[in-house]
């Protein structure tokens, strides 16, 4: 039987970028073993963490993500030998950039989850979801999206004059 799901005011959207060989298989294992984990996470599968470009993370934030997970094979286990070593450096630097422009790094998690670690997948995803839930929605990028549509001031004198004339 499923336990009763608690109701929350805010359900964060978590985007997980995972490599197909380890973390995806690990998440799959969690599923086939019927382990429960938050349905907030949307999994995007990549060949390797080495293929995960930082702009994907930006794109996810732009499209409304509240939290991001990047996960792949443990060092030494990458299917393509060194993809995760390269990714590790790239994300070490990208984190610093995000931090510098004012993104709270608690919204982003990196992890190594192997194909056998269904339990670790559940832990990582649950922790991130709860942490982001406590932080509330990621508003910064959403504000930018709104401004992208309309950056004018709604009560400027010109518009006011138009309204009044109507």
């Amino acid at each position: 039987m499923h336990s009763e799901k608690p109701k929350h005011d805010f359900e964060p959207k978590i985007i997980a970028f995972v490599c197909t060989w380890c973390t995806y298989a690990g998440a799959d294992l969690a599923g086939t073993s019927r382990m429960q984990y938050p349905s907030n996470v949307r999994v995007l599968k990549f060949p390797c963490t080495g293929r995960i470009d930082p702009v994907f993370i930006l794109k996810a934030f732009q499209q409304g993500a509240d939290g991001i997970l990047v996960s792949g094979c443990h060092p030494g286990d990458c299917h393509y030998i060194a993809g995760n070593y390269h990714a590790r450096r790239r994300f070490a630097v990208f984190r610093k950039l995000l931090e510098f422009i004012g993104v709270d790094l608690n919204r982003i998690q990196f992890s190594w989850v192997s194909a056998a670690e269904g339990g670790k997948w559940v832990e990582v995803v649950t922790d991130l979801t709860e942490r982001v839930r406590a932080m509330g929605p990621m508003v910064e990028f959403k504000d930018l999206v709104l401004e992208e549509q309309w950056s004018g001031n709604l009560n400027n004198p010109e518009l006011q004059a138009v309204y009044e004339a109507m």
Partner: protein, 307 residues
């Protein structure tokens, strides 16, 4: 207190460059020399490519020689004749960009003849090209320069650069100021800065490392970066740009200088350089690196941020 910086050596440097350019063009060591010449406004300069020894007298060096000429060697620019060895005038910061391109296999050392400048500093802007070089008007990059004397060139005029006085480290101070803010203040700062961008791509045009035939931000299938000069696309563009230049940027400061909207682009680049130095002990220099910090790795790299 504003102090004048002694650049009396620049006339000797000008003579030396002219003589050397005349020599290497007349004995056909090189087919062309890329250097600076006087611009139309008093004191201003502009890049020039000369191909005959008679034109050598057009070359100059002054405190208004801001351009990083290395950009003309990249495949993105077609102004320089192909084939034959090319001579080029480089300051220390320009040379670091050139060395970076050598490391990325974009250039071959044997195809180049490097004329290095023992540099005492250049102006921060060309708005007043005839201005005196002082501790105020000097470029921010020069305030933090440790490479006044280029290393590994084929010819360097025998002049000692003026040791720079103890100048305010403008970039380092500004980075420290931003780092001390809380995240939302930093976000506001950059949001304001990025919103000014008009996507003219002057910064990309002028950067020696932006030689991609198709820039990621010009692609639309899939479109990773919105092309409109609006807040969302601007933020993505600036972050993407900072990432693509991380570990490569030579700190020549050209991007920031050409930005018509005065966006402090080099703050991002220098912040990344600082992090790369701290994380991987890697920085731009005069030695050709076989692989940059983000195209190589060590098995024992720090992974304290990974669960």
């Amino acid at each position: 207190m504003t102090q004048t910086i002694d650049i009396s050596s620049y006339s000797a440097i000008t003579d030396a460059i002219r003589n050397e350019a005349r020599r290497i063009l007349s004995d056909s060591t090189v087919s062309a020399v890329i250097g600076y010449t006087a611009g139309r406004r008093k004191g201003s300069t502009q890049p020039i490519v000369i191909t005959t020894a008679d034109d050598a007298d057009q070359l100059i060096f002054s405190a208004a020689c801001l351009n990083d000429l290395v950009v003309y060697l990249t495949k993105a620019k077609k102004d320089v004749p192909k084939g034959g060895r090319i001579g080029i005038v480089v300051k220390g910061c320009d040379l670091k960009a050139l060395v970076g391109l050598l490391g990325e296999s974009q250039l071959k050392r044997e195809n180049l003849y490097l004329i290095g400048i023992p540099c005492s500093g250049v102006l921060g802007s060309l708005l007043k090209p005839a201005a005196e070089l002082t501790t105020e008007t000097i470029a921010s990059k020069c305030c933090e320069c440790t490479d006044q004397l280029p290393v590994g060139c084929d010819f360097v005029p025998t002049v000692t650069p003026t040791p720079l006085p103890d100048l305010e480290k403008r970039y380092a101070n500004e980075i420290a100021r931003l780092e001390a803010m809380n995240p939302s203040e930093r976000w506001e700062f950059w949001k304001e800065q990025f919103s000014k961008c008009i996507k003219c791509y002057a910064c990309r045009q002028v950067c020696p490392f932006c030689f991609c035939e198709q820039c990621l931000c010009d692609r639309n299938r899939p479109q990773m970066v919105e092309q409109t000069p609006r807040p969302l696309g601007n933020t993505a563009w600036h972050l993407m740009r900072a990432m693509h230049l991380a570990g490569r940027c030579a700190g020549c400061g050209e991007c920031e200088r050409v930005c018509p909207m005065d966006i402090p682009l080099n703050l991002l680049n220098r912040k990344m350089a600082k992090e790369l130095k701290e994380l991987f002990n890697s920085e731009a220099g005069f030695e050709v690196r076989e692989a940059g910090p983000l195209t190589s790795y060590r098995e024992d790299d720090d992974q304290s941020f990974i669960r």
